[in-house]
């Protein structure tokens, strides 16, 4: 402890005390055992709206709202019996009453001391109007926030339910759509096949000179029926693959036989002057694969080659067994694939810019890719716009995954 403290002038210290008392930010009030105000500082007068000397000798209860006065008087007696340094009104709201009758929130700290056997209680009064209103605002904000959180939660719950309903509905619609597409495709195919058969017969029965117009129209019927059948087949395949409704039944296939059959079927799609050429270039000619997937793969590639080549432009299909893998090459001298369209070529329903006027679903190459994925095969191509495309397929013949 520094020794200097004890040497301060006592008169000087009195003035410091006075200054502290007079300039304190809190109201100070000194009350005797009877509750009479014996001393107060200017800040207290300012807080409660009284003039200098106006409070001296008056009861402390004067500074309390009417409703608290009675209780306060008895609490004060209790305090006098067992005085302690503490905050007043812990856990309760305390209010002061101004001379003009207005009420304001306060915080009160209590202390006691005894002078010449007389007990005095000193109260330190702080106006907490601002803090209170800040607290109120905070409370209001919190309440508001809680309300909004509640509302939002309710909305989300409602939303989640709606999403669930929408999802179920979507599933139902999808199933319905699938059933419809399958049913429609099946139901359309039979009459289309009859139309085609009849068109073939008309062509046969009207052979010979003088019937060119009949043949021209028969040819149109055939072309359109084939287009429509191809579209239906694409939709059916797409649906089946999408539903996972594809069973793989690997079997030994004679590649040459299969391809000649396909070329013979697909010739009806060929344009005027378009020759279809098939060749097998290896000694081995059999492979173990799912026939349906292989047929779909080759059919789609050759159909595209025909469709996207001009009249008189040949299409070549080449097959070979190479190191246990079936290799398929389809070459055309057609319009080719624009470089900018190449990255999306295998996307479903994608159609390159230069084929928009040519009928097609945009499913063909997507289906090829899906079938090849199922067969563990791969596909790549080279294409030059205006000069043609070459598609290369490689499928492992024995290894199979479903």
């Amino acid at each position: 402890m520094p020794q200097g403290d004890t040497n301060v002038n006592p008169v000087h210290l009195d003035r410091v005390r006075e200054m502290l008392f007079a300039s304190a930010a809190e109201g100070l009030v000194l009350v005797d055992r009877s509750g009479a105000i014996r001393m107060n500082n200017p800040r207290l007068l300012e807080l409660f709206g009284y003039a200098e000397g106006e409070l001296l000798g008056r009861s402390i209860e004067l500074l309390l709202p009417e409703s608290f006065r009675h209780a306060h008087a008895s609490q004060r007696e209790g305090y006098n019996a067992r005085p302690a340094k503490r905050h007043m009104g812990r856990g309760r709201e305390l209010n002061g009453l101004r001379k003009d009758g207005t009420i304001f929130p306060v915080e009160v700290g209590l202390n006691h001391f005894t002078v010449d056997d007389e007990l005095y209680v000193m109260a330190l009064v702080t106006d907490i109007t601002e803090r209170k209103s800040a607290e109120e605002a905070l409370k209001r904000n919190t309440a508001e926030l809680e309300k909004r959180v509640e509302e939002r939660t309710a909305e989300l719950a409602k939303g989640a339910h709606a999403v669930e309903i929408a999802y179920e509905r979507e599933k139902e619609l999808h199933a319905l759509k699938s059933r419809f597409v399958s049913m429609a495709s099946h139901e359309f195919r039979t009459p289309l096949s009859t139309i085609m058969g009849s068109a073939d017969l008309i062509a046969r029965y009207t052979e010979g000179p003088g019937n060119e117009k009949v043949h021209k129209h028969v040819q149109r019927i055939r072309t359109k029926v084939r287009d429509l059948t191809a579209i239906l087949n694409d939709f059916l395949s797409f649906e089946r693959i999408g539903q996972g409704d594809i069973s793989t039944e690997p079997e030994e296939i004679d590649i040459i036989h299969l391809c000649i059959g396909l070329i013979e079927e697909l010739r009806g799609m060929a344009k005027a002057g378009q020759a279809l050429k098939y060749e097998h270039t290896s000694d081995t000619r059999t492979v173990v694969l799912d026939r349906n997937m292989l047929v779909n793969t080759i059919t789609n590639l050759v159909t595209n080659a025909i469709k996207y080549s001009p009249e008189g432009s040949p299409v070549t299909l080449r097959t070979a067994m190479d190191d246990g893998c079936l290799r398929i090459v389809v070459i055309d001298k057609g319009i080719g694939i624009p470089v900018t369209d190449q990255p999306q070529l295998f996307d479903p329903f994608f159609r390159a810019q230069n084929v928009l006027t040519i009928q097609g679903t945009g499913l063909g190459l997507h289906l090829v890719k899906r079938y090849l994925d199922l067969m563990g095969g791969e596909i790549n191509y080279t294409s030059t716009p205006g000069q043609g495309s070459t598609f290369n397929v490689r499928i492992p013949g024995k290894h199979y995954r479903t």
Binding site: G261, E264, A272, G273, Y278, E279
Partner: protein
């Protein structure tokens, strides 16, 4: 070269396709093939289990194949026919087992279009021979009713070329026949 051979009566008629296959496997000379096919006489009942029919297109089924030859059964519904085609096989024998089939021959004329230069009708039971290398042809069911032919190729076909029946293989420039209105 095209030959149409009479189905002469001879001892040892072959009545089933299985029997034919056995004979062909020990007979790899053209004369042997021809002899076996001439001896083949099969009833529609015996044939039926081997036939496959498709309302959209004729069907081809391989009955038997070795390195030397292959035996294909071809089923035509009424009005159906093959494409105009050729292939790399050297020799072919064609025997209608049911119905009547028309055979047409084509060649590419100057200017690139196809010209028909011959045709013949093959009745049930008759045997026709074709030197097939680069021989452009078409077979059609001459109807009425279904038709079935048994074709023997030596050696087996490995390449097949389909020509456009309207214009032929070559360039279309100068022709006006193509599609459209």
């Amino acid at each position: 070269m095209a030959l149409l051979l009479d189905n002469h009566q001879m001892a040892g008629t072959i009545e089933t396709l299985e029997e034919l296959v056995r004979v062909l496997d020990v007979e790899s000379r053209p004369a042997g093939y021809m002899d076996a096919l001439l001896r083949l006489s099969i009833t529609p009942e015996m044939l039926a289990p081997f036939c496959q029919w498709n309302t959209r297109h004729y069907t081809r089924q391989c009955i038997h194949r070795t390195r030397e030859h292959e035996l294909i059964l071809i089923c035509y519904e009424e009005g159906q026919r093959t494409s105009i085609h050729d292939y790399d096989s050297q020799m072919a024998w064609i025997k209608p087992l049911m119905g009547t089939v028309q055979e047409e021959r084509f060649k590419i004329a100057t200017g690139g279009s196809l010209k028909r230069h011959g045709q013949r009708v093959l009745e049930t039971g008759r045997l026709a021979y074709m030197a097939t290398k680069s021989c452009i042809h078409r077979h059609s069911n001459a109807g009425p009713g279904r038709a079935v032919t048994l074709n023997l190729y030596a050696r087996p076909i490995r390449s097949w070329r389909v020509y456009d029946e309207r214009t032929g293989l070559a360039s279309l420039l100068g022709t006006t026949e193509a599609g459209g209105e």
